[in-house]
Subunit: 199 residues, 2 copies
């Protein structure tokens, strides 16, 4: 059967991103049977962005753009893998790999999606627009909740402390007072559960 080059390119992209479902993250899932993956994480944050959209400092947000951003922002991990937030060296090393991955994977798409997705991905990475800042704050909030729900009591394999975690997440407060309250509350609950050192 023959169909257009444009459709074939879209199918190549849609087939390629199947692989994001086997890129695993540090946190787990509800029954502790396996690690969370970047595809389901992306689904979770897209829904969070929808319901928290009125809790930011911004007067106007293009919520469709935020959702697109969150749905595609981790696709580069198909080539680059997931880097643990607190692994600073790993984060630096990943920058070039992730950029090449964006060009390769979004480059599978025809125009205008190729250009749009590369541009939205870069916007997310640069974090200068309201949409990118809001998306980043949601992307930073979700792991706090997910970790609290799915981690076993008193498990802190990376010896994370409350102050280290709050320091990494503090930018949420520049985007949303409400979400920063939620973040601090999740960290407190996690300390109580023994997931972070108290100081």
């Amino acid at each position: 059967m023959i169909y257009s080059k444009e459709l074939k390119e879209k199918m190549a992209f849609i087939s390629e991103i199947e692989k994001l479902k086997i890129v695993y993250r540090q946190n787990g899932v509800f029954d502790k049977s396996r690690a969370e993956n970047s595809a389901e994480h992306s689904w979770h944050i897209a829904l969070m962005a929808l319901v928290f959209q009125e809790h930011t400092i911004f007067e106007k947000l293009d919520i469709l753009k935020v959702i697109k951003m969150l749905l595609i922002h981790d696709i580069v991990e198909i080539d680059a893998g997931d880097t643990f937030l607190y692994d600073t060296q790993g984060k630096d090393a990943a920058i070039e790999t992730e950029k090449n991955a964006a060009l390769r994977i979004f480059g599978l798409l025809p125009t205008p999606y190729k250009e749009e997705f590369i541009s939205i991905w870069l916007e997310f990475e640069e974090k200068t627009t309201p949409e990118a800042q809001y998306a980043a704050s949601i992307d930073a909030l979700q792991p706090l909740l997910n970790h609290l729900i799915t981690a076993k009591e008193n498990e802190n394999p990376n010896k994370l402390s409350k102050s280290k975690v709050l320091n990494k997440k503090a930018f949420i407060g520049t985007v949303s007072n409400d979400l920063w309250l939620v973040a601090q509350d999740l960290v407190e609950e996690s300390v109580t559960k023994g997931l972070y050192e108290k100081y």
Copy 2:
């Protein structure tokens, strides 16, 4: 720490939907290590809906609504489980359970999200609007691709035939000529791989 009732309700919903990541479907993932779950499936179809939006018979589509629909449509499976498409009895039995699940889970949210999500979920189920019909066609197309990519050669445990599959998917042709061509092509490739009987 104290924050508003509205935020607490939103967090209750966001925590509850964590469980969709452990609702497993019939198909697998790329490395065949486990079954696909409904959260990552929802992520996949949201992105498909984005890039295929100009391939329908409809002049205008509210793509944000389509994406919301696809992100939330399977959340009811947290209570009802995933029902295999070809299990007709199971599908009928699930209707009431799924409706109650929608009321319970979307009901965790404050106004206006509670009403909006219940209404969008019902719209998807009723399939009378362009958005719901397009969303349903994408939801039906993805498993064909996913199955072709992730299934082992010559595995057809449910003795599915090409005609049975095409029959279940034929409504895609009423929404999009292009996507129906793609669907038929995926089925042909799957027959070649031994995943469906030829007749």
